[in-house]
C-alpha cells in the first residue's frame, strides 16, 4: 500500500516535525494576537457607559472577530493532526480549564450578537455582561491553560500566565481602538493601554522570577537562557517604546508595537517548550509527532491553504481598514 505521490517512510524534509512545531505555535500566536485585541475591546468596553461609544467598539470588532476566533480551531486541529498525544493529554489533563475557556468564548461571541436584537435597556445590560465577562475569562483561562502546559501544576506561575494574557490583551485592544477611532476617545483609552503594558511587563518578570526560584515544572534552566533573556529585553523595549508612541498620539505606530507583545509572548512559549512539547510529561517533539506519511500529507495539503488564509486576512483587514464608519454591530 505505498503511495507514489508522497514519501511514506521519511519526512519531506528532515526537520518537518520541528517545522510543524513552529506551525502549531504560529497558529496559537495568530490567535493570541488577533483574538487578543478582540478580548481587549471586550474588556475596555466595560469602561464605557456612553451608548454611542459602546456601539463604536462593537463596530470595530464586528467584521473580524469571528474570523479571528477560527485561529484557535486551527491551533487545536493542527496540534491534533501533528501531535495527537499532546492534544489529548493537554486537554484531558486540564479538563475544566479547557471547557471553561470554550464556555467563556460562547458568552463573548453571543453577547454582541444578541445585544443588537432588541432595543431594551435590561436586555442590553445582560448581553453586555456576557460580552465583558467572556472577554475577561477567555484570555484568563487560556493563559492558565498555557501555564499548565509549560509549568504543570504550579499555582502561582499558572495564575500569572493567565493574568499576563489578560493584560497583553488590554494593551492590543486599546491600541487597536485608538488607531481606529477619533482622537478624543483614543486619548481616553491610552492610560488603560499604558497601564496594562506596565502591568504585563512587570508580570512577565515576576512570573519568570518565580519559575526560576521555585523551578516550577522543572523549567528554571529553560528560563535562564539567552533566548529567553533576549525575548524579555525585546518585550520591555517594545512595550516602553509603544507607550511613548501612545503618549505622542502616534496610534498606528503604537498598534504595530502593541501587536509585537503577544507575538513575543508566543515566541517565549515556544522557547520554553522546545525541545519537549509538553514539558511536565517530558514528551519530546520527535516522540509526539505522527508518522512521516501523515505529516507529509497534512503539509502538502495544509500549508498552501495556510498561505491562502493569510491572504484572506489581508483582504478582510484591507476591506475594513481605516477609521470605523457608522455604528453598531448588526451590519
Amino acid at each position: 500500500m505505498t503511495d507514489p505521490l508522497l514519501p511514506v517512510d521519511a519526512y519531506l524534509v528532515e526537520s518537518l516535525p520541528e517545522i510543524w512545531f513552529g506551525a502549531v505555535l504560529f497558529s496559537l500566536g495568530m490567535y493570541v494576537v488577533l483574538d487578543g485585541f478582540d478580548f481587549g475591546i471586550g474588556m475596555l468596553y466595560a469602561t464605557r457607559t456612553d451608548e454611542r461609544e459602546r456601539e463604536t467598539f462593537l463596530a470595530a470588532f464586528g467584521p473580524v472577530w469571528d474570523a479571528n476566533e477560527v485561529w484557535v480551531v486551527a491551533f487545536g486541529t493542527m496540534l491534533l493532526a501533528a501531535f495527537p498525544r499532546v492534544y489529548s493529554r493537554l486537554l484531558a489533563d486540564n479538563y475544566l480549564l479547557a471547557l471553561g475557556f470554550v464556555v467563556a468564548l460562547v458568552f463573548r461571541g453571543l453577547g454582541p450578537e444578541l445585544r443588537e436584537q432588541r432595543d431594551d435597556e435590561r436586555w442590553k445590560r445582560y448581553t453586555d455582561y456576557a460580552f465583558i465577562g467572556g472577554s475577561v475569562f477567555a484570555p484568563l483561562l487560556l493563559g492558565m491553560l498555557a501555564g499548565r502546559w509549560l509549568f504543570g501544576g504550579a499555582t502561582l506561575p499558572v495564575a500569572l500566565t493567565g493574568v499576563g494574557l489578560v493584560a497583553v490583551s488590554i494593551v492590543t485592544g486599546a491600541a487597536f481602538l485608538a488607531a481606529k477611532t477619533e482622537p478624543g476617545l483614543a486619548s481616553e483609552l491610552r492610560p488603560y493601554g499604558i497601564g496594562a503594558t506596565l502591568a504585563y511587563l512587570g508580570g512577565v518578570v515576576v512570573l519568570l522570577g518565580t519559575v526560576v526560584l521555585t523551578d516550577a515544572g522543572g523549567a528554571a534552566d529553560a528560563v535562564l537562557s539567552l533566548p529567553v533573556a533576549a525575548v524579555v529585553a525585546l518585550s520591555v523595549a517594545v512595550g516602553l517604546g509603544g507607550s511613548v508612541l501612545a503618549r505622542r498620539g502616534r496610534y498606528r505606530a503604537w498598534l504595530a508595537n502593541a501587536l509585537a507583545l503577544p507575538t513575543l509572548l508566543t515566541i517565549l512559549v515556544a522557547i520554553l517548550l522546545y525541545p519537549t512539547i509538553y514539558p511536565p510529561t517530558g514528551l519530546l517533539v520527535r516522540e509526539a509527532v505522527v508518522s512521516p506519511l501523515a505529516l507529509n500529507l497534512v503539509t502538502v495539503l495544509g500549508f498552501p491553504v495556510l498561505l491562502l488564509v493569510l491572504w484572506y486576512f489581508k483582504f478582510l483587514y484591507g476591506v475594513f481598514s481605516g477609521p470605523i464608519e457608522g455604528e453598531g454591530y448588526g451590519g
Binding site: M1, A74, T77, Y87, V103, L110
Partner: protein
C-alpha cells in the same frame, strides 16, 4: 444497563454523579446535536443566500433585496451560534475522549485541520464581507463572497464527514505501537479519506440539510404570506422552497433506501438494530411499526410490535435480490447498541421523510394550479412542519452514531476505552449540566431571534399589529400576540 453501570464510583459522596463515560457521551451527544442544527442551517441556507444575493445584485428588485437581507441575517446569527458551539466540539475530542484522539490522530487530525483551514476561515472571512461590506466592495466581489461562504459550508461538511465516515468504515491504516500505546498509523490516504461510507453519508447529509432548511424557509414564508398574502418577496421564497423540497424530499427516500443496503453490508450490527432483528435468518421488512405495549418503546421486538411488514423483503433488499438470504441478528453479538433508540429513531426519521414527500407533492399540485398562497390549510401545514426537517436530521444521526455503539471506531476501539481515564464523574457531570443549561438558553435565544426577525419583517411590510388571524400552534417563533 442497570443502575450500577450507570454510576461510576461506589463512594456514596460521588454516587450522585454520572460515570465519566456516560456523562461524556451524553455531553458529546447533546453538544453535537445543538451544533449540527446550526452547521446544517449554513449548509441548507447556502443555495438560498447565493440565489438571493445574485438576483439582488443582478435585478435590483426590491423583493430580492428584502429576501437577501433577511436570510443573510438569519445565516449570520446561525453562523455565530455555529462557531460558538463548534469550538467546544473541537476541544471535546481531547477533553473527554483523549484515547480516541490519540489512537485516531493520524487519521482524523488531518481532515479536522483541513476543515478549519479550508472551510471555517473561508466562511468566517467572507461572511464578514457579506454582512458589513455591501458598500465597501463591488457587486462582483459581493456575489463571489456569497458563493465562497456557501462553498465553505459545504466543504466543511465534506471534511467532517470524512472523519465520521472513517469511524463507521475505517480503512487505510494499520495498528502500531507508539509511546506504549496501540495507535492507528496512516498507510493509504485515499483509502482513509474516501472510505466506503463517505459518498453515502455526504449526499445524505447535504440533502438532509437542504430539506431541513427548505422546510424552515417554507414555514417562515408561509407564515408571512398567511399574514400578508400580497407580499411578492415571500410568495417567491415560498415557491422556491417548495420547488427545492419537490426535488430533495423524494431523492432522499430513494437514496436512503440504497444507503440502508450499504449499511447492512458494512455494519450488519447497526442494520440489525435498525430493524430490531434478533435471530439470524430470513428478515422481513417492517414498513410500519407500532408498540403493542409500553415495553416495546424500550425493548422493541417482533413479539411486542404491530408491524406492517413485507415478508422476506428485508433479506431481499439486504442481499440485493435473494429472498432467503441470511441477515445476521443481534443475538450473534456480545454487546449491542441501545436497540430501542436506534429502532425508533430510524422509524421516526423515515416516517418524517414520507411526510415531507407528501408536503412537497401537495405543494407541487397547488403551484401547478396556481393556488399555492391561497390555500390557508397548506400554509398552516407548512408552518407546523417547519421544525421537522431538523427532527429528521437529528434522529438520522442518532441511528448512525448510537447504532455504531459499542464502538467509537467500528471494530477497532470501543467508546468505553476512548474515554479519559483522568476524568472524574464530578467534573464530567458538572460540565454536562453546564452545557445543558447553556445550550437550552442558546436554542431559546436562536428561536427568539428568528421570531424578532420575522416580526420586524412583518412591520416593514406595513402589517398592522392586530391584523390577520391568530396562530395557536406549537412553533415558538410564531406567536400572534406581537
Amino acid at each position: 444497563m442497570g443502575p450500577i453501570t450507570l454510576l461510576g464510583a461506589v463512594d456514596p459522596v460521588w454516587v450522585a454523579f454520572l460515570s465519566p463515560e456516560l456523562a461524556s457521551r451524553m455531553q458529546f451527544g447533546w453538544t453535537i446535536s445543538v451544533h449540527i442544527i446550526f452547521a446544517s442551517l449554513s449548509i441548507g441556507l447556502a443555495p438560498f443566500i447565493i440565489y438571493f444575493t445574485w438576483k439582488d445584485v443582478r435585478t435590483n428588485e426590491q423583493q430580492y433585496v428584502r429576501l437577501r437581507s433577511f436570510w443573510v441575517r438569519v445565516f449570520a446569527a446561525g453562523f455565530v451560534m455555529g462557531t460558538v458551539t463548534g469550538i467546544p466540539m473541537s476541544f471535546q475530542f481531547g477533553t473527554n475522549f483523549p484515547q480516541f484522539s490519540e489512537v485516531a490522530g493520524e487519521l482524523i487530525g488531518g481532515p479536522l485541520a483541513f476543515e478549519a483551514k479550508m472551510a471555517f476561515f473561508l466562511e468566517a472571512v467572507f461572511l464578514g464581507v457579506l454582512l458589513y461590506g455591501r458598500d465597501r466592495v463591488g457587486d462582483r466581489i459581493y456575489v463571489i463572497s456569497s458563493v465562497l461562504v456557501g462553498f465553505g459550508a459545504w466543504l466543511s461538511g465534506f471534511w467532517i464527514l470524512i472523519v465520521n465516515a472513517w469511524m463507521q468504515t475505517p480503512r487505510g491504516y494499520e495498528m502500531v505501537t507508539r509511546n506504549g500505546m496501540d495507535v492507528a498509523k496512516l498507510t493509504d490516504p485515499f483509502a482513509a479519506f474516501l472510505t466506503p461510507r463517505m459518498p453515502w453519508m455526504y449526499v445524505h447529509m447535504m440533502n438532509a440539510s437542504v430539506i431541513a432548511v427548505a422546510l424552515l424557509v417554507a414555514g417562515v414564508s408561509a407564515y408571512i404570506v398567511w399574514k400578508k398574502p400580497d407580499t411578492e418577496a415571500w410568495n417567491t421564497a415560498l415557491k422556491l422552497a417548495v420547488v427545492l423540497l419537490i426535488i430533495s424530499a423524494p431523492f432522499q427516500a430513494v437514496h436512503g433506501d440504497a444507503y440502508g443496503r450499504h449499511v447492512e453490508d458494512t455494519q450488519p450490527q447497526k442494520f440489525a438494530a435498525m430493524e430490531a432483528h434478533y435471530e439470524t435468518g430470513q428478515a422481513d421488512l417492517h414498513l410500519l411499526a407500532f408498540p403493542k405495549s409500553p415495553v416495546a418503546l424500550t425493548d422493541p421486538r417482533a413479539e411486542n410490535l404491530v408491524t406492517v411488514s413485507l415478508p422476506a423483503v428485508g433479506s431481499f433488499l439486504a442481499s440485493g435480490g435473494d429472498f432467503d438470504a441470511e441477515v445476521i441478528g443481534l443475538n450473534e453479538y456480545e454487546e449491542n447498541p441501545p436497540v430501542a433508540l436506534v429502532f425508533w429513531s430510524f422509524r421516526f426519521m423515515v416516517g418524517l421523510g414520507f411526510l415531507f414527500i407528501g408536503l412537497a407533492l401537495w405543494g407541487g399540485y397547488l403551484t401547478y394550479r396556481g393556488r399555492l398562497s391561497d390555500s390557508t390549510r397548506y400554509l398552516k401545514a407548512m408552518i407546523a412542519a417547519s421544525p421537522f426537517g431538523y427532527a429528521a436530521l437529528l434522529t438520522g444521526w442518532y441511528v448512525t452514531e448510537i447504532g455504531r455503539q459499542p464502538w467509537v471506531i467500528q471494530g477497532e476501539l470501543k467508546t468505553s476505552e476512548a474515554v479519559s481515564s483522568t476524568l472524574t464523574g464530578a467534573e464530567a457531570t458538572l460540565t454536562l449540566v453546564a452545557f445543558v443549561v447553556l445550550y437550552v438558553g442558546l436554542i431559546l435565544t436562536a428561536l427568539y431571534i428568528l421570531k424578532w426577525l420575522v416580526r420586524e419583517e412583518l412591520r416593514s411590510l406595513g402589517l398592522r399589529e392586530s391584523s390577520g388571524d391568530r396562530w395557536h400552534g406549537p412553533i415558538p417563533w410564531v406567536s400572534s400576540d406581537d
